[in-house]
Structure formats: C-alpha cells, structure tokens
Amino acid sequence: MISFEGVTVRYESTVALSDLTDQVDAGEWVGLIGPNGAGKTTLLRAVARLVPHDGVIEVDGVTVSSMSPKALARLVAYVPQQPELPPDMTVGQYVLLGRTPHIGYFGFETRTDRAVCAELLRSLDLAVMADRRLSTLSGGELQRLVLARALAQQAPVLLLDEPTSALDLGRRVDALELVDGLRRERGLTVLSALHDLTLAGQFADRLIMLGEGRAVSTGKPDEVLTEEALARCFGASVRVIRSEDGDLVVVPRRWR
C-alpha cells in the first residue's frame, strides 16, 4: 500500500531521514519507534508530502510527488501529534473539515458529506456533542474527534503521529483499540509513530525502529524489541519481559 525506496529527507543541512527502503502492506499496522529526533515524524510528514523528499514514496502504486494535493488527501489521512483544535469551532464543523478533499475549491459540503460525518460521529460516540465547542471536550473526546475527522477523508491510509501522547493510561489503550477496530472494520492501512514501546508491541503487526534517520531494524515486535537493540538505539537500559499471556513488556531501568 505504501512503499519507500531510497527515501531521504533533509532540513537545510541536517539529514532527518536517510535512504529508507521498506513497504507497508494493505491492511497492515506498522509502528514507527525510536528515540526523539530519529525521523518518525519526518517519515510520516514525507508521506503526507508536508516535507519534500528525495527517493520515491508510492501510495497505492502512485508516486506521492506526482499526485495533486487533493488526490493525495483522498488516499492518505494524516493526524499530527498535536492537532490544531480551534476552541470556538463546533464538533460538527470540525469533522466536516475532513471532507475537504472531496469538495471543489468554491464548493460546500453536500448532504452526502454531512451524512458521512454524522455516521462517523455516531460510531465514535460523539453524536450528542455535534453542536458543542471544542473547548468543552475532554482529552479522550478530542482524540476520538481528531480520528473522526481523519476518517471523514475516507482515505485507505491513516498516518498517526503519537496518537496517545496526551492521554492517560486507560485512554491510551482505548484510543489504540479504537484505531485497531476501525482498521479491521474498514480495511485501513495504518502507519503510526508510537512512543510507548509496550503498546507498540501489542498493537502493531510490524515495527520499524529508526535511529538517527536510518532504519535500525524492522520486523515483528518480538524480533525488534530486544534488550540489546533497544539499549543501543535509545541509549538507555531497558528490560524486555514476556508476560504470562505472551505480551512483551518494555521496562526502562535506572543506570546503576
């Protein structure tokens, strides 16, 4: 669904992402892990064409650089780490923004657009809040709302940058369960940066570990999440424990 070939991104003189080659299959959830500044966000932004890149990124067989912004937005929905949430915008207006790629330059939302968004609000338990302002919503509600806007694009690919960073423990699992449920139900392909390595191991089908702009290792979670590799990449002492039901738990430890 997404393929990278020799993808490099430079910010002026610094190289943020270097010669990445990989691919994400349709329906797969690939997690990007790595320390701060490793290039996770840059990779997501390159797919959404928010930063220029060298090399080739293809989505659904078409090179990203050759697509119109609108065509790309119908294929790829991007949720930044800290979405801009205008406090005096209503929930309904915000979700409708997701229909932008389907609306002409001077056009307005049609009945279909409004029906799609109403349905999304219903399925994410936000329907009763349609007329509320964003400033009145809780963190968990905002998280669902941002997802609803991304899903309103009806794009087969979902790019999520740290979707759980602002949430408490319970809401984190809720948010990822929601993404997983939507992915299965709608056949979405998900590429997401994930900070929490334990949750990354539980939710992603495959992980790409980035370090200083390069793919350090890729594979199934239990192949990537090893104590040595994590220690090298993150420069931290960690312990990887397998729980009774087979989940990997990554525990940071103090240097001694």
């Binding site: 064409r49 801009e84 915008m89 409004r114």
Partner: protein, 342 residues
C-alpha cells in the same frame, strides 16, 4: 444528519441594522428632510420609472448629491474594512490582524502625503497615489517576507509588514515635517473622513470593493479550513499558501481602494469581525458576510455621529470609530466571558 452552518439569521439581523443605519444616515443633517422625502428622491432616480418626487430641487440635490453618496461610500468603506479584517484574521490566524497589517495604511499615508505636499493642483491624484502606495507597500511586504522566511511562512510576512510599515511611516513623517504648512491637510486625511464624498468616489472604488468582496465571500469555507493551520490544511488537500495569497491580494485591493477615498479609518477591521464572532458564530461562513454588512452599518452610524455630535463642525470619523467602538467591543467581550463561565 449534521446541520450545516447557517448564516441566514445573523445576515438578516445585520441587514436590518444596515437598513436602519442608511435610514438614519440619509435623514440626519442640517437640512430638515424626512426619510419619506428621501425615499421619494430615490424613486425619482430609478430609470424608466418616471416618478416625480415632489421634493424641492434644493432638498433633492442635498439628498442625492451630498447625503446619499456619503452614506453609500461609508457603507462600502465599512464593509471593506470589516470584511478585510475578518479575512486577515483568518489568513494570519491572529485575532489582532487587521487590514492594515501588511502596510496598507502606511503605504496609502505616504502616497497621500506625497501628493498633498507636492501641491494642491495635484489633488485629483490623491486617491490614486494612496491606492498605489497601499498596493505597493503590501507587495513589498510579501516579496521581502517570502524571501526572508520559509516559503509561505506567515510569521515572516507579518514581521516584514511591521518593518515595511515602519519604514514608510518614517518617510511619510519626514515629508510631513519638511512641509509644515501642509500639516493640517495631511493630518485631516490620515484621521479619515467622508466629508467630500461624491458619486464619482463611489464609482471609483466600487469595482475594487465588489471584486474583493466576491473573492472573500467565495473563500469563506476555505478560511474555515485554514483555522487548523497550514500543515493540516495542506494534508486535507488545500494548497494553503496559494489560498492565502489569493485572499490577501483580494483584501488588499479592496482595502487600498477604501482608504484611497476615506483616509485611514482605524479599528473597524478588528471590532466588527470580533463582535460577529462573539455574538454569533466563529465560522467564516458567518463572519465574512456578516462582518461586511455589519461593517457597512457601523461606519454609516459612526459617520452620522461624526457629523452631528458637534454640528456644524465635524469630528474625524476615525476618532468616532475608536471612541464608540472600543467601549462597545469591551462590553461585548465582557458579557460574552461572563456568559461562558456561568
């Protein structure tokens, strides 16, 4: 089904205010003329109708040649300043943005001052010079801002606007000090006035204001998309840099035309759009049209105050917009805050 944002009710209310303002604007003045007389004069000017107003020739001329152009011009200028302000606040995502942000006022001031100090035989050129100065200043701001900063970065453009405005104001002040005998005329122009409004002024600015208003209204949905910032707007398939330049160009053209005939009337571009936001809806689908109508009504009323409070002498309209507008705006802000916290 989600309800679409509807501007209907606020538009109707604003239109009501505008009709009231126009009625007051044409009825108030030294000559005692009723609103009915005004309507009769108006009807007599409708082509093909052959209606005779029955109003005396002098009264008819007072209405048709003095009051009406002044009211219409005030309406156009007010609509443009308020609509332009709303658009600039959306483009720069800054509540303090007004149509003068990128140097329109400084450029127009310099152009007007240059003509005034050059001598009265050039006074026909004053609107043209002010217009050229305003458009030139914003162009300079955009060129400098775009080369200095990351392409399309609004912060560098706003900073460039501050620098360009400071530079042009310095030149304008210098010119003004060198020609102290013209100080009064320069000062009077800068404070803004509709005193000498004529139909030819209306005709002069109408194409620019109409074009600008159409473009701004056509972008009201995209202004809502820009509220989530450049990155997210781009990721939704909008070429946000291009949209912003289009809106800024349109707003600049209209604002430049408005200040060219009215001088630098301040504050309208900030208080009108914010009053609309605070009392109705923050969506640009409401803010843009209602600000235009409300801005027209507001400036017509401000002009009524300007020419009646100290009649027969007039107060500069810019003084009225700030003196009446600021407390009213604070009142709206305060009542809204209280309303929200309870």
């Amino acid at each position: 089904m989600l309800r679409p944002v509807s501007a209907r009710r606020p538009v109707v209310v604003a239109l009501g205010a505008l009709v009231g303002a126009v009625a007051l604007g044409v009825s108030m003045g030294p000559a005692d003329l009723s609103f009915v007389a005004t309507l009769r004069v108006l009807l007599s000017h409708v082509p093909l109708l052959h209606f005779h107003s029955g109003v005396s020739r002098i009264d008819a001329d007072v209405l048709w040649q003095i009051r009406l152009p002044r009211v219409v011009l005030g309406g156009l200028v007010g609509a443009m300043l308020a609509g332009g302000g709303a658009a600039f606040q959306g483009v720069f995502r800054n509540p303090l943005a007004d149509p003068y942000l990128l140097g329109v006022a400084a450029g127009a001031g310099l152009g007007a001052t240059a003509v005034i100090v050059a001598g009265s035989q050039l006074s026909e050129l004053l609107p043209l010079a002010a217009f050229a100065g305003a458009v030139g200043a914003v162009t300079l701001t955009y060129v400098v801002g775009a080369t200095v900063g990351r392409q399309g970065a609004t912060v560098s453009i706003v900073l460039a606007g501050v620098a360009v405005a400071a530079l042009l104001t310095a030149i304008q002040t210098f010119l003004q000090q060198q020609h102290a005998q013209d100080l009064q005329s320069v000062y009077a122009w800068i404070l803004g006035s509709l005193t000498v409004a004529t139909w030819s002024d209306v005709v002069l600015i109408l194409p620019y204001v109409a074009l600008s208003a159409v473009v701004l209204l056509a972008h009201r949905r995209l202004l809502d998309v820009l509220r989530v910032g450049q990155d997210e707007a781009d990721s939704l398939g909008v070429r946000s840099s291009r949209v912003r330049i289009t809106i800024v160009a349109a707003a600049t053209l209209g604002t430049a035309a408005a200040v060219a005939v009215s001088g630098l009337i301040g504050f309208v571009g900030i208080i009108v759009p914010h009053t609309v936001r605070l009392t109705t809806n923050a969506s640009y689908r409401v803010v843009v049209p209602v600000s235009m109508i409300g801005g027209a009504a507001f400036l017509i009323l401000a002009d009524v105050a300007a020419r009646t409070v100290l009649a027969p002498s007039e107060i500069p309209i810019g003084v009225v917009t700030a003196f009446v507008g600021a407390p009213f705006f604070l009142f709206v802000l305060r009542s809204r805050r209280v309303g929200r916290s309870t």
